[in-house]
């Protein structure tokens, strides 16, 4: 479905994507994970033909992206993180507009709008202006717009950002259901539990490189689940780096998060005492954290990453 070979993208002197190789098969839900600035959005934008790249080859549906962009776009859709819709149009007007500009008409229009509406449970909201919908309802409309061309390949960029847990669950169920229709999904998110819940495969990006790609179950099976993550109430970047120099097993994830691999009671006690000595308030300590999160933190913690 998607084949990426040696993809390179740089902005002036900054390398955004560094020789990316990735293959995604039909009917797969791939979670694209990475810290901020890792290159997730750049990769998705390139796959949608929104930005150019300097080197490499990309094929989607067996078609070269550079030459067959229009044909590829007709069979795929992109749901951006922002709510790309019109607040002053009703739900139905939004759907009809985005269908109209894709030249979807007549019977196909009715069928595809009905499908997008029913999958996203928008039936009672059709006459409501988008501007007065709740955050979750807007997110559902945002997703519905992406279904209007009945795509085989769907890209979702953080589709659940900033919404309540109930709406999130509903949206995740909807996206998971696309697999039953044989659709392929590329899903970027910061929420590890979401990825664990819906994705078959995971690709972890860090500083423009794919540092791990594979089946989620296999990756989790390999990963030990006995790491400890300590979240702090406030940022203490300088103090944490000083502590990390003294205690080799302490890894600084960001200014308010540190992690330890398989600490014993004495080692953990020493770290907690050191934090107390530095008058650093602890928000929470998580033992045996979500496996994917632990893997993610481990893989991306070589630098001072913002998770």
């Amino acid at each position: 479905m998607i084949s990426i070979k040696n993809l390179v993208k740089h902005y002036n002197n900054h390398i955004a994507l560094d020789h990316i190789n990735l293959n995604v098969g039909k009917g797969v839900i791939l979670g694209l994970l990475g810290p901020n600035g890792a290159g997730k959005t750049t990769l998705v934008s390139i796959l949608n033909g929104l930005i150019d790249f300097q080197e490499g080859e990309i094929e989607i549906f067996g078609l070269p992206l550079s030459q067959e962009l229009k044909a590829i776009r007709k069979r795929s859709s992109f749901t951006p993180q922002s709510l790309a819709l019109y607040d002053n149009l009703t739900v139905l007007e939004n759907l009809r507009f985005f269908a109209g500009i894709q030249k979807i008409r007549g019977k196909e229009l009715r069928h595809n709008v009905d499908y997008a509406v029913s999958v996203n449970r928008l039936d009672p909201l059709l006459d409501h202006k988008a501007g007065i919908l709740s955050g979750g309802q807007k997110r559902r409309l945002n997703i519905a717009i992406g279904l209007l061309n009945n795509p085989e390949l769907l890209y979702f960029d953080e589709p659940t950002a900033g919404i309540d847990p109930e709406s999130r669950t509903s949206i995740l169920e909807t996206i998971r259901s696309f697999k039953n229709d044989g659709k392929t999904v590329i899903y970027t998110s910061h929420y590890m539990p979401e990825i664990e819940k819906i994705c078959d495969q995971v690709a972890i990006l860090d500083r423009g490189r794919i540092i791990r790609h594979g089946l989620l179950d296999a990756m989790l099976h390999e990963e030990k689940a006995d790491s400890v993550v300590i979240e702090l109430r406030h940022s203490h970047e300088a103090q944490l780096h000083t502590l990390a120099q003294k205690h080799a097993m302490l890894k600084v994830i960001d200014a308010a998060t540190v992690m330890m691999d398989e600490p014993d009671a004495t080692q953990l006690g020493a770290i907690l005492a050191a934090l107390e000595e530095e008058q650093i308030d602890i928000k929470q300590i998580r033992y045996g954290t979500t496996n994917l999160e632990a893997l993610f933190i481990r893989l991306t913690s070589q630098g001072n990453c913002d998770v």
Binding site: I51, R73, P80, I101
Partner: protein, 397 residues
């Protein structure tokens, strides 16, 4: 595709009451107010200048001079009791434009070969030079008439034939000169409506900048444009999707404003607008103006970062183009250098085109240059906007 874009723009505009007010109600009110306010300036039916006379001569001659001045409809005599310098100064501070003093002995001095000034004219400080010239001319004319009468009286006993001829030559001032305004009937004048409507149509058309840039920036900021781009909508198609609805909106504006000039202004006592001789020319100029206004709007929308920036910049540009282009102050009131400067404003090109049609009664051929210049200007701005938008979208902005 265009149908969807057209419908979307119309719905968005229809639901934005402020934009509707800016596009349709504001220029209509401008036309109504300016046509009625300037009716007298262009019409000539009401006195524009007020004056008082201090008549220390009090003779038949001074009375004749006053009657002659009153025969000019643009002048109105006020019976102000002015007996001292303080009253004179107070009267000229807002109440009166002029005070004409007729010293004693006017009748005798009229026919003296060398005489001192016959009259004294005090002038308020805000009186324009052309108004002063008008009054001076009237006074000189009045004195010449009095002198002719004197000469006629003196000649009558000796040369009755000549005196009779002189009497026969007396005539109403309006009969002496036949006035014909360019492209109008004899003694017909361009009305304030005919002058105002073109100006405010041009100004109103450029107000599409505000709603258009607001919608466009929201589309950019909310990534709706990016989404459309991912749906195979290219920048030229996107711009075409904006052009079509706003050209229609501009045409609705033009005909609505013309309707205000024809039907509404007369209801409020103003003169009705007449259309001129070329509907085709009218379409050509208004299409050129549409392109220029839409090009300006889209360029502002792609360069500004926020809606607030776009509306502020758009408003300022609109007012500046209007001021420079002769919309707010008619071009003929401006100095020579300012008149030259008007040529840089597209509003001036559009206004000249409309004036050719509405005021000068010209046809489509006369407005080809203005229409093409406006269209070229708009196309140039659209091209620049397209290049900037493409570059921004490629950078993910």
């Amino acid at each position: 595709m265009f149908k969807a874009m057209l419908l979307k723009e119309f719905i968005l505009l229809w639901r934005d009451k402020y934009a509707l007010a800016a596009l349709f109600i504001m220029p209509a009110i401008f036309i109504l107010i300016m046509s009625i306010a300037l009716k007298d300036t262009f019409g000539g039916d009401r006195a524009l200048l007020s004056y008082a006379v201090i008549d220390q001569d009090n003779t038949a001659e001074s009375a004749k001079l006053r009657t002659f001045l009153l025969s000019n409809g643009r002048l109105k005599e006020h019976k102000e009791p002015i007996t001292n310098a303080a009253q004179r100064q107070e009267a000229l501070n807002g109440k009166l434009h002029f005070i004409i003093s007729i010293p004693p002995g006017l009748a005798q001095n009229l026919v003296k070969e060398q005489s001192a000034s016959l009259l004294q004219l005090d002038v308020a400080s805000d009186v324009k030079q052309e108004m002063l010239t008008l009054v001076q001319g009237e006074l000189v004319l009045g004195i010449i008439r009095l002198r002719m009468e004197k000469i006629q009286e003196e000649l009558a006993p000796f040369l009755p034939d000549v005196a009779q001829k002189l009497e026969a030559m007396k005539s109403n001032r309006d009969n002496l000169i036949q006035v014909r305004f360019n492209a109008m009937g004899i003694n017909k004048k361009p009305t304030s409506t005919q002058q105002s409507v073109p100006s405010w149509i041009v100004f109103g058309m450029f107000f599409v900048i505000i709603p258009m840039s607001t919608v466009f920036i929201n589309e950019r900021k909310q990534n709706t444009l990016m989404r459309m781009s991912a749906m195979n909508i290219s920048v030229p198609v996107l711009f075409a999707g904006k052009l079509a609805p706003y050209i229609i909106i501009n045409q609705i504006q033009v005909w609505l404003m013309i309707g205000v000039g024809i039907f509404l202004v007369p209801l409020f006592g103003g003169d009705a607008l007449t259309l001129g001789n070329s509907i085709g020319g009218l379409f050509m100029v208004s299409l050129g103006l549409s392109l220029a206004a839409i090009g300006t709007s889209i360029l502002i929308a792609v360069t500004a970062d926020t809606v607030e920036q776009a509306t502020t910049i758009g408003g300022i540009i609109n007012i500046l183009m209007g001021a420079i282009g002769g919309v707010m102050v008619p071009k003929f009131y401006m100095s020579q250098s300012m008149q030259q400067l008007t040529n840089i404003s597209p509003m001036s090109w559009g206004l000249e085109g409309f004036l050719d049609i509405f005021l000068r009664g010209q046809g489509a051929g006369a407005v080809i240059t203005e229409s093409l210049t406006l269209a070229g200007f708009g196309a140039g701005l659209l091209l620049a906007a397209g290049m900037i938008l493409n570059a921004k979208m490629k950078r993910g902005i």
